[in-house]
């Protein structure tokens, strides 16, 4: 670890440094760490906020949307005056005001099969804060090939699903082999979403990202955490690596070239031959 903490940093991160579990070494590790946040919306906002506050040295923000007024009910890093501004830029402005230790890399693009490998390359951790199945399956598949862990979170109205996908553990397709047909599980724009819901879910994703960076604690690996805001319940369901998983099973893929990221995001084995 080449970094040493200066006096301002010792002050800023003192509540981390004072803990044995983190200490100056752990804080230096955060400052040396890099996290790619895919989506700067409802989930991404609290993730970016807490990663930046805690001094994660490099935060990548990938989002091709612009801030809309209807986002502001939950996407807490964006402001009324930034309506119309690209979300990646708005996120960067927020972080720059919060913590000068953090470098923000902005990617004002949709994550595609063409750009995903370059986009994720070199990051320690990915936080999947996207809002659609094709992106989620694409990120799962590409991150697995690149050996990068993912803190996954997804929301529906009053419910959240959170899990952590580490390179040696089960992947998203072990849990959900293919995506539902488009339209069968409605999105936030169609159904609405409780404003604070992505705050809770995003904070759990950020917690997982910190643990992965620090190498501390027990990641939410092989466990799917359900959060129900209405009942105020958390339930954990275990799941295992699927030997038949097309991405990480006994006969894994070696590239994403033959996967179609639309409709069911099916891994088309036959065309692979």
């Amino acid at each position: 670890m080449s970094l040493s903490l200066d006096a301002t940093q010792l002050d800023r991160y003192s509540r981390h440094i004072i803990m044995d579990e983190i200490g100056p070494e752990g804080q230096a590790r955060l400052l040396d760490g890099s996290v790619l946040v895919i989506g700067a919306g409802g989930l991404g906002a609290p993730v970016i906020e807490y990663l930046a506050a805690a001094g994660v040295g490099t935060i990548g923000v990938a989002d091709d949307d612009i801030v809309e007024r209807s986002n502001l009910q939950r996407q807490v890093i964006h402001t009324d005056e930034n309506v119309g501004v690209p979300k990646a830029d708005s996120a960067k402005q927020f972080v720059n005001r919060l913590n000068p230790d953090v470098t923000v890399e902005t990617y004002e693009t949709r994550v595609t099969p063409e750009n995903v490998e370059e986009l994720i390359d070199g990051y320690d951790v990915i936080v999947d804060a996207s809002d659609n199945f094709p992106t989620r399956y694409l990120v799962n598949d590409a991150a697995r090939l690149a050996g990068i862990p993912i803190a996954h979170g997804a929301i529906y109205k009053f419910e959240g699903q959170i899990t952590t996908l580490v390179p040696d553990g089960p992947c998203y397709r072990c849990l959900f082999r293919e995506a539902p047909e488009p339209g069968s599980v409605p999105d936030c724009a169609t159904t609405g979403v409780l404003g604070v819901l992505p705050g809770t879910v995003g904070c759990i994703q950020a917690t997982e990202a910190f643990k992965l960076l620090l190498g501390a604690g027990e990641p939410l690996e092989g466990r799917l955490l359900f959060y129900d805001a209405m009942d105020m319940t958390f339930e954990t369901v275990p799941y295992q690596k699927d030997p038949d998983c097309p991405v990480c099973g006994d006969d894994p893929i070696d590239s994403i070239d033959h996967i179609t990221y639309q409709d069911g995001c099916r891994v088309n084995i036959t065309s692979e031959q």
Binding site: A129, V185, F226, V237, G264
Partner: protein
């Protein structure tokens, strides 16, 4: 036994937890049939044409996926909790 439904499945059914009486020799498939009889509109969401579960639908008995048991043939007890959930994608 009790069914617990998540996300859009709970919405389509209009209820989140459903208690059903089952026969002593009932299987998961029987419990699923009883659920779909009560809520026919769930069928398209849960089953493909051949009567198998959609690939993206998970069915758990007391927290264990039926894939690691005997699938729909797995036998169940009167106090078992079965859960049915799809992935969600919102962000």
């Amino acid at each position: 036994m009790q069914w617990k439904l998540f996300a859009n499945l709970a919405e389509i059914a209009g209820e989140r937890t459903i208690s059903l009486a089952i026969d002593s020799d009932a299987t998961v498939g029987d419990a699923l049939d009883a659920l779909l009889e009560r809520h026919p509109s769930l069928s398209d969401e849960v089953l493909v044409a051949d009567g198998e579960l959609h690939d993206h639908i998970n069915l758990l008995i007391n927290g264990t996926n039926i894939h690691s048991l005997s699938g729909l043939e797995t036998s169940i007890e009167p106090d078992d909790e079965l859960a049915l959930f799809p992935p969600v994608s919102g962000g």
